[in-house]
């Protein structure tokens, strides 16, 4: 028995040695070339993480060496500081280089590392030998050589490290040297550094570019690898109508959220501008609801409210009247006090306006041929003549001044500076411009072009970034709005009584056409003229329609919460609005069905 067990032991030892040998000679699994590459890349990744034994075991079992023998030799020599050995391996690798001319650079770097390490350890004589015997003969980069020879004057390793920007032998510089050398050799000899990390990063970035409703501020290396990235539409894209506001007596033509997201102003043919308050419900948090705040009247001879503009500090509201509008009115939104009524000439038609950043100055204009710079304090200040203005916006410029962007009847979008009286044509559209809207960060301009769609222009690069199609055209004015945390979403009205929402950030890839078609929100009973995104509650959208209502749209997840809150009652001061949130909204097949 003992003998038997002893024999077993003995044969066991012999067996395992044999097995090891066998494995080294013929691996257990036969791998295709692609699989072999994958193993090499994984092995490199493991080694970078510090799991050297796992990497070795992997190489052994798969039979795919990570790199050629000479390269492995070179690597270990460098890491151990065996400079002569490293030089020898490098010489044998010379033939494998992409370009023969990079040889001197590699040799220089190797010698440079040797030189710096010698200096650091205080062996100045040896360092000088390296300088003279190895670095100088290569005749590579005389500037660097000069700087290196200057370092010999350093009094100690600290000063050396500081002056040269080199972090020392122990500071990972040997690995950095290897990383920098890898690029000169083909992958069969040496793998490019961090190959698997690079591949994973590329994959995640590709997923992000295909994400249809990408709405997150996380960077690609924070996203999970375990599942393809795709932002949930339910959380970010409005799809459900949570409120129908029917306080208006006639068609509603304009709706605008204030820049701080607290107010909503709406106006239309009934010559009334209504200010609504946006309240984020306390329980559950984050479900915003709108309630009536003030009703402001403009004179009935004015044909209706044509445009509403909020001052950048969200304190003042400016209203322009329709066609025969000679006067604009400014109110304080909180109290409803009329701060200013501004009129300049009797034959004016002031149908569009925009505020300047100081919340005191504003520009107004129309298609009679003049637009004016005015202020709340002083009134009319300056005029620019002979331009028939269709839409206005303002933008801060690099030198601190503010440019006024005006779209005119010749389909041009031009830039005007009232302080320097300079003007310049920025873009030419290929069809008549109906309206224009600038994003909150002032980088993008959405231009509604009649019978064409919404064109997005980049104001820094001065190019057209996107042409958005899919809205229904007709004879009436439409307005668009840019919203979302990264200015990724564009919404506009449409003649078929639906609200169009696009996600512009999506790269055109496979299925490119699909990504550029809008999601359409149904519910209104008439033409939708104007839409507005809430700048603070991203995903909250208001739309104004000829059916005399304004609808509030929320992402499905928020809407469910908002409806639950409204089930308790209509809220205080609820004159003029109904919490009829249960309206159907047909959305495109790319979205999950609403939670109702």
């Amino acid at each position: 028995m003992e003998n038997g067990s002893g024999c077993l032991n003995g044969s066991g030892a012999a067996d395992s040695a044999e097995k090891a040998q066998q494995q080294q000679q013929c691996p257990a699994v036969q791998l295709s070339e692609r699989n072999c590459e994958a193993v090499r890349v994984i092995g490199q990744y493991l080694r970078e993480l510090g799991l050297a034994r796992s990497a070795e075991a992997l190489v052994l079992e798969a039979g795919c060496p990570l790199e050629s023998g000479a390269a492995a030799q070179f690597r270990s020599s460098v890491l151990l500081g065996d400079w002569d050995g490293a030089e020898a391996s490098l010489a044998s690798l010379r033939r494998a280089l992409w370009r023969e001319s990079s040889w001197s650079e590699i040799a220089f770097r190797l010698a440079e590392q040797r030189y710096l390490e010698l200096l650091e350890s205080g062996a100045h004589i040896a360092a000088l030998c390296v300088l003279r015997g190895k670095l100088t003969p290569l005749q590579f980069s005389p500037d660097r050589l000069h700087r290196l020879s200057g370092l010999i004057m350093c009094s100690g390793p600290e000063e050396l490290r500081q002056l040269s920007g080199w972090s020392g032998a122990a500071g990972g510089t040997r690995q950095a040297l290897l990383d920098s050398v890898e690029q000169f050799f083909p992958p069969s000899v040496m793998l490019p550094p961090k190959r698997l990390s690079v591949l994973l990063d590329q994959a995640v970035r590709a997923q992000v570019s295909r994400c249809r409703h990408h709405n997150t501020s996380l960077s690609p290396d924070q996203l999970t690898l375990l599942a393809d990235h795709s932002c949930q539409a339910a959380a970010s894209v409005p799809s459900v109508c949570s409120q129908v506001l029917d306080a208006h007596q006639d068609e509603v033509h304009v709706c605008q959220f204030s820049p701080n997201g607290r107010f909503l102003a709406t106006g239309g043919r009934d010559c009334v501008a209504i200010v609504w308050l946006v309240e984020a419900a306390a329980n559950p948090p984050g479900a915003p609801r709108v309630r009536h705040h003030l009703t402001l009247r403009i004179g009935e001879e004015r044909g209706g409210v044509a445009w509403l503009a909020w001052s950048p500090d969200s304190r003042l509201l400016l209203a322009c009247a329709a066609e025969e509008a000679t006067e604009v009115i400014v109110w304080e939104a909180e109290t409803g006090d009329c701060i200013k009524k501004l009129k300049h000439r009797d034959e004016d038609s002031l149908t569009t306006a925009a505020w300047l950043p100081d919340s005191n100055h504003f520009v107004v204009g129309g298609n009679r041929g003049h637009f004016y710079l005015c202020s709340v304090d002083v009134g009319f200040e300056k005029a620019w003549d002979f331009i028939r203005v269709v839409a206005l916006a303002t933008r801060r410029e690099d030198d601190g001044g503010t440019a006024v962007l005006a779209a005119d009847t010749f389909a041009r979008i031009r830039r005007y500076r009232f302080d320097t009286m300079q003007d310049e044509t920025l873009f030419r559209e290929d069809g008549p411009v109906m309206s224009m809207s600038i994003s909150q960060d002032e980088t993008l301009l959405a231009v509604c072009v009649a019978s064409a769609g919404v064109h997005l222009w980049d104001l820094r690069l001065r190019v057209c970034r996107r042409r958005l199609h899919g809205l229904t055209h007709g004879a009436y004015l439409l307005h668009a709005s840019i919203g979302g945390p990264n200015q990724d979403f564009v919404a506009s009205g449409s003649h078929d009584a639906r609200v169009c929402v696009w996600h512009r950030g999506c790269q055109a890839g496979d299925g490119a056409q699909q990504h550029l078609l809008p999601d359409k929100l149904s519910g209104h009973g008439g033409l939708v003229s104007c839409v507005s995104w809430n700048p603070r509650h991203h995903g909250m959208l208001a739309s104004a329609s000829d059916d005399c209502t304004v609808r509030i749209w929320l992402p499905a997840s928020l809407a469910a919460a908002a409806l639950a809150a409204s089930a308790d009652g209509t809220g205080p001061g609820g004159a003029g609005f109904s919490s009829n949130g249960c309206c159907s909204s047909t959305v495109s097949k790319h979205q999950p069905p609403p939670l109702l």
């Binding site: 007596q249 006639d250 068609e251 033509h253 043919r269 009934d270 010559c271 009935e300 004015r302 044909g303 209706g304 044509a306 329709a322 298609n367 041929g369 003549d385 002979f386 331009i387 028939r388 009847t409 010749f410 041009r412 031009r414 003007d423 044509t425 008549p432 109906m434 009649a450 004879a475 009436y476 004015l477 008439g526 033409l527 003229s529 000829d546």
Partner: protein, 128 residues
């Protein structure tokens, strides 16, 4: 109906284009801009109310269904045009001329002189 209601408006705010120009022609009834002197091709036409002008391009018009009309100059297929804002009939547009000598009119618009106003505009100051 609400105070701002006007029977001439239908839905929404109409998108009204403006061609500019130094002499502007507009609808005599509602002053809606239509075209300018640069687009004028000929003044020697006759309409229902008397003199009529032939223009190259006119904006803010609605067109009727296609009609077969025999005129002094021959048989033409035309559509009546009216002001988009106030719906007043202003003239017609030639769509097809049966006689070769009349084909130059195709696509051009006739506006009756009595139904339009001419007013002072201004030149475009932009030079580029």
């Amino acid at each position: 109906k609400s105070p701002g209601f006007n029977a001439s408006y239908s839905m929404g705010r109409l998108h009204i284009e403006h061609m500019g120009g130094e002499r502007v022609f507009s609808c005599a009834n509602c002053d809606c801009p239509l075209t300018n002197r640069q687009q004028l091709i000929s003044t020697r036409f006759t309409g229902a109310t008397g003199r009529a002008f032939l223009f190259n391009r006119v904006v803010n018009l609605d067109t009727s269904e296609l009609q077969d009309r025999v005129m002094l100059t021959g048989r033409h297929m035309v559509r009546d045009v009216s002001c988009r804002k106030c719906k007043t009939k202003l003239g017609w547009v030639y769509e097809f001329a049966t006689e070769e000598s009349q084909q130059y009119k195709e696509g051009k618009i006739i506006l009756e002189r009595a139904l339009i106003n001419e007013s002072e505009g201004f030149p475009d100051p932009v030079k580029d």
